[in-house]
Amino acid sequence: MSSAPGVNYLNEKSGLWSWLTTLDHKRIGIMYMIAVFTFFAIGGTFAMLMRWELFSAGKNIVEAQTYNEFMTFHGAIMAFMVIIPGVPAFLGNFFLPLMIGARDVAFPRINLLSWYCLIIGAAVAFYSLIYNGADTGWTFYTPYSIKTDNGTTILVAGVFILGFSSILTGLNFIVTVHKLRAPGMTFFRMPLFIWGLYATAIMQVMATPVLGITLLLLIAERTMGIGFFDPTLGGDPVLFQHFFWFYSHPAVYIMVLPAMGVISELITCYSRKTIFGYRAIAWSSVGIAAVSFFVWGHHMFVSGESEVVAILFSFMTMLVGVPTAIKVFNWTATLYKGSIIFNAPMLFAMGFIFLFTIGGVTGIILAVTAVDVHFHDTYFVVAHFHYVMVGGTLMAIAGGMYHWMPKMFGRMYNEFWARISFVLIFVGFNVTFFPQFVLGAMGMPRRYYDYLPVFQPLNRISSIGAWTIGIGFLVVLYVILRCIFTGEKAPDNPWGATTLEWQTSSPPPHENFLTQPVVTGGPYEYK
């Protein structure tokens, strides 16, 4: 027991081995943080290289084949190693037990195993680079992914292993939320971040296995020619798309739902006001998770699916837009008659609402069948998903990071530089991706190494924005390092927040709480 003063989860045991064999969810969260940030730097570097190549029409720094490999790795790294684990495995692992008043997650050893799955999966994925990696795009569409002669099999195997990281995290979270809540904490007294993680966990557990089997079948197709996706043997290449998107559509909600949970926490804390529409937001998380399983075909309106099927998927996609809109309105209403401060986390939260709204409405635009025919596979889609993934999830990770840094490290971050990072990221992001909506409308397809000269001016603007985002994230790194090593000591509750993690020391002890918390009211009783 670490009830001695000054002893916390960071200093109670030292040495690399104590970290690599830890069963403490807080240490595992920190290890995820380091891994995810490292993968983000690598994926981001591929993005910078891509935008450098795209600065002008024609060849700039690499050949078409290399560009296609960069494009694939950027997508695969960001999707599977950054955005999917980003909030749940880092912030979720650290704060889920704390926020429900538990001493750890239900299965700490499985938690550690999930981290190793991330690391080993990533290692296998990067190993494929020895064989020139893959050039299929992160979606691995057949038949091209079957025929291309490079390290695709190895990359796919790496992604398969990464899938287990996600499944095990989800499994742990579902069980933890059901079984380990503190006395008095009913489901409707849980913080909304937990609702977000819970809904995400359901999707992780139910959708990821389908990706798993799909990837195994792709490997079997590549290595043994089994024929499910090969028309010469009676197979159907479009079947791959159905299987792939059955997972990958819920996957994008796995990416965004926990981020929305973070935003709920930030908005209520920094307006010092109880969240508006708690039940609506909670139910909307579950609603989005449920409906997300029925919209996968909206990625396939022009793939050959019938008119009836396309219409059904379009309808379901409209349905999923409603709970999403509900959240945005409830967050905005929370600010009404609040007492608001604009520190870096709040800036990121408000930036999220603005950028996610744009991402969301462009999603509705794409859900309209007749309009998607023009926009499918163009830069409009690229802009849409970057608005929700980067303008959404990544901003939530940054905001959540700053918000919870005092708790994780016991030190305050530098407010001035954190705000600078926000400005650089926010402005850089819009400069990079807004022009891409226009490029898509003009007809520029995605995954294009080279483009017609008419597309050049907007591509140049986009590239300049990209490098600005890069600098913004370097500033974030600076702020984090400066905080960890020389930050001013943080009090237990610098923000005056009401959720349970702030009722223990900064950083928390190994056991999280010195005495078992007992909950008697809602999570946001700012009165």
Partner: protein, 302 residues
């Protein structure tokens, strides 16, 4: 947006405009609300209290139901247009499209083939019946606001009725490998008379590839080249294929398919020793069928 080259394109643009406006207004409402509340309720005093408001069911209902109505509206509007897109007219002119890594070939009912350029008459419905030879491609015509994946092992279809004469860009819109971004084509919409003339006027009808190559040579290349090893303006082609060629910079290269293709499309990339850099490029003037025909023809010159 690109030009509205069909009636359907105009209708799609109308729906898109509505969507853009609706999106803009809703975004401004949210951002406006955020900004207004942020300024009005900024914490000026350390102890400034907030109001305790947990929810409002009426508001909740309104801001669920109104968006739902708008979503249903655009869904239905989109359905009507989408149905039009999928409803193939019975009397359309049919063109077969083959996509392959990395070009498009068009075949007409009378056997006329062209690659890289589809010629069609204005104001007539045209139906494309498409298949792929290898991997999934996608036939995308921005000016018509249309696209359809082209899949190996089955046919997919697309139809349109162009309103105006002109040239419209075609892109491949499904990643298909190295030259995905180079898999371009053009749709050339001409008058009925010009189309009929073009259709009946297949200069390579019934010819083998070698014969096509020979024909191209005798009309386009004979001015500077010859079929012996005599040196004219350009090198002779006898015994060219498969042998080493010495270049002006001193290096040597094997005259294979790629070398010949590059010489036609980008002649200044490799200048043969002893010749001036005088050859013009034939990019845009010779199509795939003609270039490949030339290659086959040159292979026979021993």
């Amino acid at each position: 947006m690109p030009p509205e080259a069909t009636d359907l394109a105009s209708k799609v643009d109308a729906l898109y405009s509505f969507l853009l406006w609706a999106s803009f207004i809703s975004t401004m409402l949210v951002v406006g609300g955020l900004t207004y509340f942020a300024i009005k309720y900024k914490r000026t005093d350390k102890n400034q209290k907030s109001a305790y408001i947990t929810h409002n069911n009426t508001l909740e209902f309104l801001w669920s139901f109104i968006p739902f109505l708008i979503f249903m509206g655009v869904f239905a509007w989109g359905w009507v247009l989408f149905h039009d897109m999928r409803n193939m007219p019975a009397d359309a002119l049919e063109v077969a499209v083959q996509g392959q890594q990395w070009d498009w070939t068009f075949t007409y009912k009378n056997g006329r083939r062209s690659s890289g350029e589809m010629v069609i008459p204005v104001n007539q419905p045209v139906k494309l019946v498409m298949a792929s030879k290898d991997v999934i491609h996608s036939f995308y015509i921005p000016a018509f606001r249309l696209k359809q994946d082209v899949v190996p092992g089955r046919y997919t279809t697309l139809w349109f009725q162009p309103k105006y004469k002109g040239e419209y860009q075609v892109f491949c819109a499904e990643f298909c490998g190295r030259q995905h971004s180079g898999m371009l084509a053009k749709i050339k919409v001409v008058s009925q008379e010009e189309f009929d003339e073009w259709l009946g006027n297949d200069p390579y009808k019934g010819l083998s590839m070698v014969e096509v190559g020979h024909k191209v040579y005798s009309t386009r290349c004979v001015i500077c080249h010859n079929l012996t090893d005599k040196k004219l303006v350009g090198p002779g082609w006898k015994d060219l294929f498969g042998h080493q060629v010495e270049l002006a910079d001193g290096s040597t290269v094997v005259a294979d398919e790629n070398y010949i293709r590059e010489s036609i499309l980008n002649p200044n990339a490799k200048i043969v020793k002893g010749f001036p850099p005088a050859m013009p490029t034939f990019a845009g003037q010779l199509d795939e069928q003609e270039i490949m025909g030339l290659v086959e023809f040159i292979k026979t010159l021993k």
